[in-house]
Amino acid sequence: MVTKADVQTFRNLNAETWQCIGMAQTFVLIAGRTSRQGTTLNESKFGSEYLEETQTLWMHVQDLAALGVEPGARVRVRSAWGQAEVVAQADKRGELPRGLVFIAYGDASSRLMGADTHGTGMPDSKGIDVIIEPLHTK
């Protein structure tokens, strides 16, 4: 069970701190709709295209390089509430400023949401603090 104190501690750790302890870097995650997510869910939520779209994390090309991650490599994304392993890709359209990462709505984005809705019924689903670490698989 994640407590409020845990969440606050997580938020208080800035990018520098994370780098110092050699884990990863902090980013702000936005989850949202994409055309491809919207079209492929009509085909099947178990289909390869939907799964690929909802398990891809988009980030600024320089952020990707700073993490030492090649486009298409797998990374682990952690929030105060959960984690997900996804494929990291470079944002070639210039949508994302540095420090902001995006993922289409789906299983991975849900794993990173908090359960607390702050009395609204709506968990924090956009603007979530996350850390990203490369997954070095052989």
Partner: protein
């Protein structure tokens, strides 16, 4: 092959129910049991229409095994009647006729009724109650609006025809040159595909909408604003001043806001700030504000639950009268806290989009699911019904995002029952088990 089924049929003025735009100018070409062309549909609409084809699934599945409709209704009714704190959830991708039966079921079993609004624009619904909504129809936007502001939304990807059919492009009575007569502003944290369609793009820092909206409220009233606003929001004070002047000087302005406001920290407070800004602007000009609603009939769900219980979502009926309390009676909370002990899920997929604690609890309790497609939620349901897709195979009423009701014109027959039919059977069996009314008595909605 049967020449009759191969004959090409054309259904004009059909309605797309994929997103909240509910475009009702579809021209569908049907050959056999498939829609082969969807003229006027956007990329999402085409995927919606062209991917519906005969499923090879049983009409019902009980505990993983195919079952008859009657057997499944019996099992589903037993689950819901024996629950101590059931929740009826979903409803945004079905007809208003089905929605009202679902509310009746929640009433009989003394549970909560909640819609996908609660994890979409639920915070906006709370804000409407706090501030009010200066509202208008999309028809008025088309014919009158000379300033369109999109804030925290990306219609190019989530509502592809919004801009061409309703807001930025169409020629209107008082904007005869269409796009040339309008100024379009986008405020977002990402330079999305909507950005090229805007005259002005303000790339705001994440989680700073509240501060920006309050600064705009101050600026339009001539209250001095600290230049540090740039550091806070990522946008210069000059840019905010320019936007404030445009907001005040337009003839008919509209702010469309998305879940960039309602899903981000602050939630209903972000939306309240936007609603208050729109209200304030009416001291200077005509100004309106509308949420960009996602699912095809999520607006209908708000309307139906409101006119049946007095509240739009997150309603508890356990005491025999409705109580509204987001955070307490909303499904994401009921599940994450482990309170609900059974669920009826209609046309939605919480196992794909709820938080992990909520999903884990849903997997622990018995629940009933209705959906035209196989989803993670139907796959794990104790009782799952395969139903006919609304708008494609089922007639009925849906509400566009501006609260305009639209009638559906189905194109294809379906071997499966509609959500409404399954829910009516379920409601009838629940009443029988509870000893309410006669065996063949009338429904709460007054229909047999």
């Amino acid at each position: 092959m049967d020449t009759q089924t191969d004959a090409l049929r054309v259904i004009e003025n059909a309605t797309c129910t994929f997103c909240g735009c509910v475009c009702d100018d579809m021209v569908l070409k049907v050959q056999g049991d498939r829609i082969v062309e969807a003229k006027n549909a956007c990329v999402l609409g085409k995927a919606w229409f062209l991917n519906h084809h005969p499923e090879e699934r049983p009409v019902a599945v009980v505990k993983g095994k195919p079952a008859s409709l009657d057997e499944a209704v019996e099992q589903a009714a037993e689950i819901l009647v024996n629950a101590r704190y059931p929740v009826v959830y979903g409803l945004s991708d079905t007809t208003c006729e089905a929605q009202r039966v679902a509310v009746a079921i929640a009433d009989w079993i003394g549970g909560c009724v909640d819609t996908t609004t609660s994890v979409c624009h639920g915070p906006s619904g709370m804000a409407f109650q706090g501030v009010g909504e200066v509202t208008c129809s999309l028809g008025e936007v088309k014919n009158r609006a000379d300033l369109i502001v999109f804030w925290g939304c990306n219609p190019a990807e989530s509502h592809p025809r919004h801009m061409t059919r309703y807001s930025t492009m169409p020629r209107g009575l008082f904007v005869p040159k269409g796009r040339k007569d309008r100024t379009v502003v986008l405020v977002d944290v990402r330079r999305t595909k909507t950005a090229p369609a805007a005259d002005i793009f303000l790339q705001i820092k994440p989680r700073k909408d509240f501060e920006a909206l309050w600064a705009l409220r101050a600026l339009i009233k001539g209250v001095p604003v600290d230049p540090k606003l740039e550091e806070e929001t990522g946008i210069t004070l000059t840019q905010w001043q320019d936007l404030a002047e445009r907001l005040k000087s337009c003839k008919f302005g509209v702010l469309f806001f998305g879940m960039g406001l309602s899903m981000t920290r602050g939630k209903h407070l972000n939306v309240e700030a936007a609603l208050a800004l729109a209200r304030d602007l009416n001291q200077f000009t005509k100004f309106y504000i509308k949420p960009m609603r996602g699912h095809g009939n999520v607006t209908g769900a708000d309307n139906v639950v409101s006119w049946q219980t007095g509240y739009p979502f997150g309603v508890n009926l356990a005491r025999g009268y409705p109580r509204f309390n987001p955070g307490e009676y909303t499904t994401a909370d009921l599940l994450a806290r482990g309170e609900a002990d059974a669920a009826l899920i209609v046309a939605s997929d919480p196992l794909a989009n709820f938080s992990q604690p909520a999903r884990e609890h849903l997997l622990r309790i018995p629940y009933v699911a209705l959906d035209p497609k196989e989803t993670p939620t139907t796959r794990h349901a104790t009782v799952a019904f395969t139903t006919a897709p609304y708008g494609i195979s089922v007639a009925g009423t849906v509400y566009r995002m501006d609260d305009v009701p639209i009638r559906l014109r189905p194109a294809l027959p379906s071997p499966y029952p509609s959500d409404e039919e399954v829910l009516r059977r379920l409601e009838r069996r629940i009443r029988q088990l509870l000893g309410i009314g006669s065996e063949t008595g009338t429904l709460i909605s007054g229909q047999p």
